[in-house]
């Protein structure tokens, strides 16, 4: 369960998040929408603990982010998968190693790492690219590596920031199906996106952000 109470976040005096209250239930699937600069990425970063709010409290599964130290935060993050808007792949590691890293840091056994990584790469359609380096991939391929790295560890919470910006409509649907299946296994999924197609034909909750706050539509 993700809870935000009266969150404020300013950058150089300008508010990116403004007195935001939000509750996402465990196992929910929500979209965060809004125009460019609305604060979607900032919201996800706050939930991930990589940005610290100027004021307000954030609870993740009952844990108050402002009350835990760096090493506890690291352990909390291992349960969260984050698909970054700019991918954040390691340029000197292969696709396989980039995805496997998410399992290596938690000390998973080498056997399991190999199996899970291969499986996940197959899910996003990159089985053949496992030995390539990120800079040798197309934009959409890089994005799928980022997706694979976030879901390979079967996170409790999946935060996806514009996960289909570089994907064609068919792949977008495939990835959406993938997210739904992960969701069905119990993961809380939060997707920040502009993509109307992604949200078509779903009755899932949408959180429309504007200037750092939720607007009533």
């Amino acid at each position: 369960m993700i809870q935000l109470f009266h969150i404020n976040k300013n950058f150089g005096g300008k508010p990116a998040i403004l007195d935001l209250n939000l509750k996402i239930r465990a196992g929910e699937f929500v979209f965060v929408t809004g125009p460019s600069g609305a604060g979607k990425t900032t919201l996800l970063r706050l939930i991930f603990g990589s940005d610290i709010p100027d004021s307000g409290q954030i609870l993740i599964n009952g844990i108050n982010l402002s009350r835990i130290n760096r090493s506890k935060l690291t352990f909390l993050r291992r349960k969260i998968g984050f698909i970054f808007q700019d991918f954040r792949l390691l340029p000197k590691k292969t696709v396989f190693d980039n995805v496997a890293l998410a399992l290596e840091v938690v000390g998973e056994r080498a056997n399991n790492i190999k199996k899970s990584t291969r499986q996940t790469l197959k899910l996003v359609g990159l089985a053949e690219k496992e030995k390539a380096f990120p800079l040798q991939l197309s934009g959409g391929e890089q994005q799928r590596v980022a997706i694979a790295r976030a879901i390979v560890k079967k996170p409790l919470i999946l935060l996806a920031d514009e996960p289909t910006g570089n994907l064609d409509p068919i792949l977008t649907q495939d990835i959406m199906v993938l997210f739904r299946s992960i969701h069905l296994k119990g993961t809380t999924v939060v997707i920040a996106t502009h993509n109307q197609e992604l949200m078509n034909n779903t009755a899932l909750r949408k959180i429309p952000l504007q200037k750092g706050n939720i607007i009533d539509c």
């Binding site: 090493s71 352990f75 954040r88 390691l90 000197k92 890293l101 998410a102 840091v105 380096f133």
Partner: protein, 281 residues
Amino acid sequence: MMNDSFVHLISLGTIIVSMLIFGTFLLLSFNIKTWLEDWGHSLTMAVYLEDDISLTNKDHIAAFLKSVPSAKIKRFISKDDAYRDLKIALGPHSDILEGLPNNPLPASFEVILDIHEANIDGFKKFQKKLESYKGIEEVQFSEDWSRRFEGMMNVVRYIGFTIGGCFCLCVLFIITNTIKLTLYSRSKEIEIMKLVGATDYFIRVPILIEGLIQGCLGGLLAILALYCGYLLLVTKKISFLSLAVLEFQFLPYEYWLSIFVISVILGLIGSMIAVGRFVNL
């Protein structure tokens, strides 16, 4: 990937070169120290012989002197030699010698004593023993340099330590900075690894091991390069300049072992300092 090995090679090269500079300084100061000590710690002793000494006794004395490791006979000065030496030394006033009935100067052995390990007591004993030999008129030490010398050696040692210490700091600075730069070019990667959930430990250990390996390799190669340079220098010196006044030695093993150890420690400390900047923040 290639880019990474480029960075590794550069920091390895920097370690090698830095340790080479440090080693060269050590090599030079070690040799200068040795030269000074050899010069300062050698005491000239004159063993004056009676005029009527028998050849056997003279040989006995010579044999005894040769048997003492720290003593070395520089030359034997016969009565005539001594007379000639004095005449030369007196220069234009050598006419004062002409007033003398016959040559009053005794023959003598000029002996160089190495006082590296020996102490004053040891020399007194040595002198006593010598004087017990038949045919010796007197044993005399030359002016005592050791006190004046001690002062100078202190200066030299002081300068050496100060500058050696500064060099160590400089080398540490250079190595740390190079490692910092290599990590700086990887700081984005480190950040990403932390975002993915890597502990400090997980990031630190490989970097420290890298620093250790680079320190080891760098130290070894620096010593090797230093030795090659030494060989080249010594060989060239001998072939170019027939006159080799000073013997140029390589560092004894304690020294080059310490270069290695220092290199390893610097590699490790360097990466520890550097890693602190990028992992903790």
